[in-house]
């Protein structure tokens, strides 16, 4: 059964919504890391889990190999652990996988020319929205402060106030 439950998690999330569009998807809840895959060395296993959370199960929807139940995710989890046991650093393990599957396998998009716009998007949006707000506020402050009275007007006001004060 376990072999059939592929890409389970996202199919679930889409749930009823996508029933019509995803016609047949043998689904069952993700079970993720299996006990027999885990390494005896807890430090190494922790590193394996960290790395797994950043790698996409490429046959699934937006699901890391740490969460996924697909066969491919299982293979990748084992592969990650093999590389770690062989003495690779975390970066080397990730690079090893990226060399085989491309950037698509990274859930955190790498910083490179193709993704500059993505990583810059929050700053750009914040800057654009902030500028619009500043312009709005400035325009309003200008209209907010009425032009100061001329000397002549001031004199009239003083006179009127004076007249008012002395009944």
């Amino acid at each position: 059964m376990a072999q059939q439950r592929r890409c389970a998690r996202v199919t679930l999330i889409l749930g009823w919504l996508l029933l019509a569009t995803i016609v047949v998807s043998p689904a069952g809840p993700g079970a993720a890391v299996e006990p027999n895959e885990m390494l005896a060395d807890p430090a190494l296993e922790d590193r394996a889990r960290e790395i797994s959370r950043e790698l996409r199960c490429v046959v699934c929807q937006n699901e890391s190999i740490d969460e996924s139940n697909a066969d491919l995710a299982h293979d990748l989890r084992v592969l990650v652990r093999e590389r770690l046991v062989a003495g690779d650093s975390d970066d080397q393990v990730v690079q090893y996988i990226v060399d085989r599957y491309g950037d698509f396998v990274l859930l955190r998009p790498p910083l490179k020319p193709q993704t500059y716009i993505l990583w810059a998007s929050p700053a750009i949006l914040l800057l654009a929205a902030g500028t619009i707000i500043l312009l709005y506020l400035r325009r309003h402050r200008r209209t907010a402060a009425p032009a100061p009275l001329t000397a002549e007007e001031q004199a009239r006001v003083d006179a009127l106030l004076k007249a008012d004060a002395e009944p």
Binding site: A31, N36, N62, T115, L125, A144
Partner: protein, 663 residues
């Protein structure tokens, strides 16, 4: 026969919608009263017709009428009654009928309770509502007709996906749709205002309750979906930044921004253009969300290609609705002039900052969700997953949440920051003490998480600072404070709860992310394992039978300090009709943490793979969301925002700064 009547009602609804879309608008433009008067009865009739169609569909599902294609594909005679009914919206066709049902329900509510709206405004609003309904009704009849028959009918149906046979997910769609579609009212009001060229305090007072209602439903729907994911998916995750989740989160962010900016329009006659734009954006996100989910364009290119008619039709609707409203906005927005002036440091300024963060957040989620699509158009395959969203969203939200408690304490027009700060010093003190204590307890092992909890404390206590001030808590006798509490405007109470609830959610997010413990192991019957102060003993697995599934049921005894606390029964279920299996986790909650047990595969000799998690403060995620919804609902009962019954006795402007502070 019911099916044919339902089919007929649906087609009739199309024509009523057409009449309602054209006649009242024409009447409003030309000042022809009888034409405007068409709007109200038409909206009510349209709702009744769609309701009839929906009930006919429910009847077909309950009666297991397998001559109806949708029923045959999505139901089964042995399914429990509850899931026969919820199965109505567990498929594309039925869920679209539910979508339109809720759309026309909102239209009928505006028609029925909006009697004191100016006739031209009501006519225009209902006209726009009918245009949206017309689009979707034609979509249903033309491409997704739920009333088609199959000849000859099969002996039994294919059944519903077992994952949908769950109370959490069964009622998730109606709430989500109430939220999505509820924003259509704000949208219709915005478009009507653009046509009229007038936005005033009265307009904002009509828009706010509808937006608030939609927001409550959407918040609840999202929380429900997240809760379901948490207990059903088998490893305790609760948010995945999945495109479909993002599709519901974007309207939520925009709707939350709208809720706040409409306050400024109502109270201060400012930010009109922006508020109208937000109303359009919030519903546009709902439509985009519907499109993304329906077309499957983000999740699978094949799904899109499988039924291009549907995807193209919705894309066309989307272009007309969003494009049309934006063009109208571009032409008419300059007509809307703000009269309320304010200094940057003021309540208005604070709400503007709120809008800045929320709309940028919505923009980031939108761009991040669609980026893989753009990139693939340029031949670059990339994934944008949780690590990206968590990082970016965390960076954006932290300053926002830090500033949040100060906002409600600022005065309108021109505020005194020092004065506001003086009123939240208690919250700052509580947060500071919490941080220091936690740093000491955790030995500095999770500094970021400790500050996260400090932020949550700041939010929760800060939310109540204003309220405590108003009722003179601890400075007057308690009875006196209680009396004062009873006359505090409901809107203020609601705001306090909503902001405090957000703090509770933040505490849950931080604690689950930082301190969740897990144990994945093979257990033999009789074996015991320890996790987070609990001992969990595995006693074996025995078979169990459900109405339409068979299950393997695990027996676990949880004890703490040598005393048995609870017995947990996680299951693996097998649904023979669909040939699918599901995993049911078992959760023991204390309100401050969840012990979460999942039964895995057989490892031979009675041994089982078992996953045990301890998720500290996990329940707070949903408790907080429910508090937020409660806040929204309490605010809705404020007499100034009686749904559809805004008081016309008071002159619409200038409205007194009722919810607030002394200026």
């Amino acid at each position: 026969m019911f099916v044919e009547l339902g089919h007929f009602a649906l087609i009739l609804a199309c024509f009523v919608a057409l009449a309602q879309a054209v006649l009242p608008l024409w009447g409003a433009q030309r000042g022809i009263v009888p034409l405007m008067a068409v709007a109200r009865p038409a909206a009510q009739t349209q709702f009744l017709l769609v309701l009839a169609a929906f009930l006919a569909l429910v009847q077909a599902f309950v009666a297991s009428d397998f001559s109806v294609s949708v029923v045959a594909q999505n139901s089964h005679s042995l399914k429990p009654l509850l899931y026969k009914i919820t199965g109505v919206w567990g498929n594309h066709e039925g869920s679209m009928v539910l979508w339109v049902l809720i759309l026309t329900l909102f239209g009928a509510l505006v028609a029925t309770f909006g009697g004191n709206l100016p006739a031209p405004l009501q006519a225009r609003v209902l006209s726009i509502q009918a245009m949206i309904a017309l689009g979707f009704l034609v979509f249903i009849v033309a491409t997704s007709n739920p009333f088609l028959r199959v000849v000859p009918p099969p002996a039994d149906g294919n059944g519903l996906n077992p994952l949908l046979q769950d109370p959490g997910l069964a009622f998730h769609p109606p709430f989500l749709y109430l939220g999505y579609v509820g924003f259509s009212i704000a949208f219709s009001f915005a478009v009507a205002a653009l046509i009229e060229g007038r936005v005033d305090a009265a307009w904002a007072r009509w828009v706010r309750p509808w937006t608030l209602l939609a927001w409550c439903a959407l918040t609840f729907g999202i929380a429900m979906g997240s809760w379901w994911a948490y207990y059903e998916l088998g490893w305790g995750g609760w948010w995945y930044w999945d495109p479909v989740e993002n599709a519901s989160f974007m309207p939520w962010l925009a709707g939350t921004a709208l809720l706040h900016s409409a306050i400024v329009v109502e109270k201060r006659d400012a930010l009109k253009i922006w508020t109208v734009l937000l109303a359009i954006i919030a519903f546009s996100f709902s439509l985009v969300g519907t499109f993304l989910v329906r077309s499957g364009v983000l999740t699978s290119v094949h799904a899109f290609a499988n039924d291009p008619a549907r995807g193209v039709f919705i894309l066309l609707l989307l272009t007309i609705a969003i494009g049309g409203s934006f063009i109208l906005f571009a032409i008419r927005a300059p007509v809307l002039k703000d009269s309320g002036l304010f200094a940057p440091l003021s309540r208005e300024g604070g709400l503007l900052l709120n809008n800045l963060f929320l709309s940028v957040a919505a923009g980031v989620v939108f761009f991040g969700t669609l980026f893989p699509l753009f990139a693939s158009a340029f031949g670059y395959a990339v994934s944008v997953g949780p690590p990206f969203f968590n990082l970016v969203f965390g960076l954006l939200m932290t300053p926002f949440l830090c500033l949040l408690p100060l906002g409600p304490l600022l005065a309108w027009k021109r505020a005194d920051l020092l004065g506001a700060a003086q009123r939240v010093w208690v919250a700052g003190l509580v947060a500071g003490v919490a941080v220091i204590l936690l740093l000491y307890v955790t030995n500095g092992s999770a500094v970021a998480a400790v500050f996260g909890l400090g932020l949550a404390a700041w939010l929760i206590v800060g939310a109540f600072a204003d309220l405590a001030e108003r009722i003179k808590l601890f400075r007057a006798p308690l009875a006196n404070s209680w009396g004062r509490l009873r006359i505090v405007p409901r809107a203020t109470l609601g705001m306090t709860l909503a902001h405090g609830g957000l703090g509770v959610v933040v505490a849950g997010i931080v604690a689950v992310s930082a301190w969740r413990a897990e144990d994945i192991l093979v257990m033999r019957p009789g074996q015991t394992t320890d996790i987070s102060g609990y001992s969990v003993r595995f006693e074996g697995v025995h078979p169990a039978e459900g109405p339409n599934y068979s299950a393997e049921r695990g027996e676990f005894v949880v004890s703490r300090n040598g005393e048995d606390v609870v017995r947990l029964h996680p299951e693996k279920r097998f649904y023979p009709v669909q040939q699918q299996s599901t995993t049911e986790s078992a959760i023991h909650t204390t309100g401050f943490g969840d012990l979460y047990v999942v039964l895995g595969d057989d490892q031979g000799g009675g041994a089982r793979a078992v996953r045990i998690y301890h998720n500290p403060l996990a329940p707070w995620l949903w408790i907080g969301a429910v508090i937020m919804v409660a806040g929204g609902l309490i605010s809705l009962t404020d007499r100034r925002y009686r749904v559809g019954l805004p008081g016309r006795r008071r002159p619409p402007a200038p409205a007194p700064a009722a919810a607030g502070t002394t200026a």
